[in-house]
């Protein structure tokens, strides 16, 4: 099978994230991702993977590939993206995350509804947990947990002043098994390379962190791979077997 270019936005929230718009339903996410010319997306809500299956199902037959994922908040308030194989059973992983996600008193639940949906955009429930809170997992433990369940770990929006591994921890801890660092859409690809190329050997990717439909694909990264699957993205980030990141 030949290598070809796939355009990927692997950091997208749904209506399950407390800060995600209610309009971020599975069908809307899939429609907008296709309009934006994306080949591959990942569903990455705060501390939860529970809406990913619905988006994967909503995309079936459309030609858009969808990976389940998560944006974990570590104890240091660092955001780490975890991306998984589309067929992965994430139940045990999710249980472990929830077990480490402290509850807040109900009077502090001031965030928006955290809406669970099915592939046809029907509301199936509401997540009662404090998804926006920090887990008790240190960044090393979060990365280990993601990798232990077959996922790959990326440090989120390292150019931002909050929830970034650099804002919180000053620099990327040596020895942390990250596959890449992500920059936000605030930086152009050139700015990202200039700013972070010299400080880390990790590849730099650029994703949208979309919380509204119109933000999907605002930042995306092209991968030269055989197909839009996790194993191929992993090879591309490692620059192995001819696969590579073409550029954010």
């Amino acid at each position: 099978m030949a290598l070809r270019r796939f355009r990927a936005d692997l950091h997208i929230h749904t209506c399950l994230s407390p800060c995600g718009e209610l309009t971020m339903s599975p069908r809307a996410v899939v429609d907008r991702a296709r309009e934006a010319g994306l080949d591959l997306i990942a569903v990455t809500d705060h501390n939860t993977t529970e809406n990913a299956g619905a988006v994967i199902e909503a995309a079936a037959g459309t030609g858009l590939a969808v990976l389940p994922g998560i944006e974990m908040t570590t104890a240091e308030e660092v955001h780490i993206l975890g991306l998984f194989d589309a067929g992965a059973n994430l139940g045990p992983f999710q249980e472990e995350v929830y077990r480490n996600l402290p509850d807040l008193p109900s009077k502090m639940r001031f965030t928006a509804d955290q809406v669970l949906v099915d592939a046809a955009d029907y509301v199936t429930g509401f997540c009662p947990r404090c998804l926006f809170g920090a887990t008790l997992l240190a960044v090393q433990e979060a990365v280990d947990l993601i990798r232990g369940h077959g996922g790959l770990a990326i440090a989120c929006h390292v150019d931002r002043d909050s929830f970034s591994i650099i804002s919180q921890l000053g620099f990327i801890p040596p020895g942390l098994a990250l596959e890449a660092i992500e920059v936000s859409s605030r930086l152009t690809a050139e700015e990202a390379r200039a700013a972070f190329g010299p400080v880390t050997p990790l590849p730099v990717v650029r994703f949208s962190d979309a919380h509204k439909p119109e933000e999907i694909g605002m930042a995306a990264t092209d991968f030269l791979v055989e197909g839009p699957v996790l194993g191929e993205i992993r090879l591309a980030l490692a620059g192995r077997e001819g696969r590579r990141v073409i550029g954010p």
Binding site: E76, A138, I166, S167, L169, G170, F171, P173
Partner: protein
């Protein structure tokens, strides 16, 4: 005022028994964002934080800080302590919160810039 004086007067926990506490704290800085500490703390400051990640030791070395006081009863990660002992960075702790500890330090003459 040395870290040893501060430890005695504020009843601080000493997490790094192998590191001397004879270093004077010329001033203080309180922040949980390590990028901010890299930017703004001064040499010989005592640093008040609730972060316990091993990177705090590297930041203290880089900025030549007098020592670190962990607030809110936070306990440093094992790797943090190993690095602190190796790099000779004193790590202390208190059940007090950052605001209260900073206030007490200030009244003892340990001030910010």
């Amino acid at each position: 005022m040395t870290l040893s004086d501060l430890a005695t007067r504020l009843e601080l926990t000493v997490f790094t028994p192998g590191v001397p506490l004879d270093r004077p704290a010329q001033g203080g800085y309180a922040s949980d964002l390590l990028s901010d500490v890299i930017g703004h703390a001064r040499k010989d400051d005592v640093w008040v934080t609730m972060q316990v990640h091993p990177n705090i030791v590297a930041v203290a070395v880089l900025k030549e800080l007098a020592g670190i006081v962990l607030v809110g009863g936070r306990v440093p990660a094992a790797e943090t302590l190993a690095q602190a002992e190796r790099e000779k960075v004193p790590v202390l702790g208190t059940r007090l919160g950052a605001f209260e500890l900073a206030g007490r330090l200030y009244t003892m003459g340990v001030k910010g810039s």
